[in-house]
């Protein structure tokens, strides 16, 4: 029996080893540490040299889409992009930086997406000290660390929040114009946001709240719930229970995936969402996932600050630096055009069909 158990374990290990070997990508080369979660792909072209990107894990759909965009742009310019992922763990990312620097190699530039913007400054300093240019993406450089990078390329969550705030005001005005009675003079809003402590969520909430309050909208409350429809659903359910008595006119979700759950929760609680005599309007910050609600008007509007675009934009900006030796501007924010639902006739054209960015349609940029 004991021998049988041992044999089972040996066979299991052998099978796993064979599977692991079969799954390996011979073409992929990475100087990353063994702790690296994955180095997804490497472009064949080597003409432009190697760029190493330190980013959080691509099992997150947004980050995976960022990586796909970055790989597309790198391939276009002939760079060999090596992506080193960490599991949203700054300590893991710090180790990866040390191992990358220790291994050396002919690296032309680094892309820095810290897991923890403040705690990652020491690693950023080490990368900068190597003399190889570093560009930061997604998280704006921590105060005082701007000198360590040649520039920033990526989202601007304050800008995202401002656009969302303006869309919320537009939604409120549409309600007034269509004779829908609000629960307070300027209307009442609730916010369903990203996970607690996430800087992007904090910036979006602050910027959108400022816009709303300036337009007389009362923010009744907010909940930090997550990134997906299930989180949006759960968060909205709780907020609705807390603020139903005060009256809810507007809901702002940080992205459209959250909003999907929010809209389900609103409808279950008896609210009418959509262009036909709505009792509440749902607005999102960034398109993500299902466009159905935007098409049928249950989502009034969202922003097109897409993940793939950010990946492309980061490499484009880095390419500009590598080819000219400087950047026209330190701040390189990706655009965030609003996407209105065609169901309300706010814009003459159907933005879902007419807007393209970097050659990609709304469907291509938002559905991931």
């Amino acid at each position: 029996m004991r021998l049988g158990k041992r044999l089972s374990v040996i066979v299991l290990i052998a099978v796993l080893a064979v599977i692991a070997a079969a799954c390996g990508d011979d073409a992929a080369t990475t100087t990353a540490a063994p702790t690296t979660t994955a180095a997804p792909t490497t472009t064949a072209a080597e003409a432009g040299g190697t760029i190493v990107a330190f980013i959080p894990v691509t099992t997150n759909t947004y980050i995976a889409e960022w990586a796909r965009g970055a790989q597309l742009a790198a391939a276009q310019y002939g760079y060999n992009l090596i992506v080193i992922e960490n599991n949203f763990d700054q300590a893991e990312q710090d180790t990866q930086v040390q191992q990358q620097l220790g291994a050396g190699g002919d690296v032309k530039a680094y892309v820095w997406w810290p897991s923890d913007n403040a705690a990652g400054v020491a690693s950023l300093q080490a990368l900068a000290a190597s003399g190889i240019p570093v560009i930061q993406t997604n998280q704006y450089p921590f105060a005082g660390s701007e000198r360590l990078v040649v520039g920033y390329a990526g989202v601007n969550d304050t800008f995202n929040g401002e656009v969302a705030g303006e869309l919320i005001v537009e939604a409120r005005d549409w309600m007034v114009d269509n004779g829908i009675e609000l629960h307070s003079e300027g209307g009442n809003a609730i916010i369903v946001g990203f996970v607690p402590g996430y800087q992007a969520g904090i910036d979006r909430t602050a910027a959108a709240t400022a816009k709303m309050e300036a337009a007389g909208i009362t923010v009744l409350g907010m909940i930090e719930s997550g990134f997906d429809p299930a989180s949006g659903y759960a968060g909205a359910k709780e907020l609705i229970a807390a603020h139903r008595a005060a009256g809810i006119d507007l809901v702002y979700a940080h992205n459209s995936a959250l909003n999907e759950g929010v809209i389900q929760a609103l409808e279950e609680e008896g609210y009418v969402v959509g262009p036909n005599s709505p009792t509440v309007m749902a607005i999102a910050g960034t398109c993500h996932g299902n466009l159905e609600y935007l098409e049928n008007g249950k989502e009034f509007a969202t922003g097109l600050q897409a993940a793939r675009l950010e990946g492309i934009f980061s490499i484009n900006t880095l390419h500009e630096y590598l080819t000219t030796g400087s950047l026209a501007s330190f701040d390189n924010f990706i655009p965030n055009p609003p996407l209105h639902s065609p169901a309300y006739g706010i814009t003459a054209e159907n933005e879902l069909e007419t807007i393209t960015l970097e050659g990609f349609s709304v469907e291509e940029l938002c559905s991931y």
Binding site: N60, T61, I223, A230, A241, R244, G261, Q264, E269, N290
Partner: protein
């Protein structure tokens, strides 16, 4: 020198005293968990007007349902003395993804459901098999969870899998008698689990193995078989939660159920199950899930910050575990 009859009588009396002590301890534990839920509801009623309103109560039970289903399945593992499973979140997410794939391929709903549940049973049984071979339950389930996550990542290319098939809509969004389908599933699973545990030979075997593995083995019960069965049940329950999630939103996502394995463990602990096995019940686990959901809900209604909410949930778990441990040690020594 005492006669044989006298010794037998003493042994019988001692056994009866032990049984009475255990019964008292079980009743006390159930009373504490139930009492805690009642106290919380009374506090909520007195302090927060919205708390006891029907829509909010429905929310509480609905939010307890998903975690509760996972916790009910995992309760069998804990009762059998195999601690916990750290792969339930990944099993739920993987089931949601598999279901989304199958529905997008146009599989009939019953076939997709059966295939996903059968797959989960197999994955669970495999984990139980590894534990039966001597593997540490925590390490085995951690490894399998990582494997499922990795496989899901490869299969989905880290994208959300949307199936756009409306056949499963009712399952995810139906409200029979005004109550969400998930809540019905939670209640039904709780009843089934309670019956299985208290009225079947398998249930008694689980408790016996958890109470004393070696004594159970001497009595002809095979702990390895029990291990395979309980891990299969746990994976099955997690898979049901995954199916409901996928049906509700028409999609499967790799990052679904993040942290829900820990939440399920919390429900089991607040429900007073003994970590070493042999003591606990599905009803108490269900009450534990409801308690945590109600506590979180009440704090959201009172607009407590996220950190404060987590602090109080942590305190509730610590108090529950300490209190139940004290009760059990008292029952053993008195």
């Amino acid at each position: 020198m005492r006669g044989r009859g006298e010794r037998l009588e003493e042994a019988a009396l001692a056994a009866a005293r032990d049984a009475a002590r255990i019964r008292t301890s079980r009743i006390a534990t159930l009373a504490i968990v139930g009492g805690a839920v009642v106290v919380l509801f009374v506090v909520g009623w007195l302090t927060t007007p919205q708390f006891l309103q029907w829509p909010n109560l429905r929310n509480v039970v609905r939010s307890a349902a998903m975690i509760g289903m996972i916790a009910l399945g995992m309760t069998f593992i804990t009762l059998s003395g195999n601690f916990f499973s750290l792969s339930v979140a990944q099993t739920g997410a993987f089931s949601a993804i598999a279901f989304a794939f199958m529905m997008s391929w146009g599989w009939p709903l019953p076939l997709a459901l059966l295939a996903v549940l059968a797959g989960a049973l197999l994955v669970g049984a495999a984990q139980g098999g590894l534990v039966a071979l001597g593997g540490n339950p925590i390490v085995v389930t951690l490894g399998v969870g990582a494997g499922l996550f990795g496989l899901g990542s490869v299969l989905t290319d880290n994208k959300t899998i949307r199936h756009g098939n409306t056949a499963a809509d009712w399952m995810g969004t139906g409200r029979p008698l005004g109550i969400p389908t998930q809540t019905w599933a939670f209640i039904i699973l709780c009843i089934i689990a309670a019956i299985v545990l208290s009225r079947t030979r398998f249930g008694r075997n689980v408790l016996f193995v958890g109470g004393n593995k070696f004594a159970a083995a001497s009595s002809g019960i095979r702990p390895s078989r029990v291990a395979i069965q309980v891990f299969a049940i746990s994976a099955f329950a997690a898979s049901i939660a995954g199916l409901f999630l996928s049906a509700q939103f028409g999609e499967g996502r790799l990052d679904s159920f993040t942290g829900d394995d820990i939440n399920a463990i919390a429900a089991i602990l607040v429900g007073g199950a003994a970590l070493q096995g042999g003591e606990g019940s599905p009803l108490r686990t269900a009450l534990g899930a409801v308690f945590i959901a109600a506590l979180e809900n009440l704090m959201v209604l009172r607009q407590y910050a996220f950190g404060v909410r987590k602090l109080w949930v942590g305190v509730a778990i610590l108090v529950a575990v300490s209190l139940f441990n004290y009760l059990r040690s008292r029952a053993r020594t008195t």
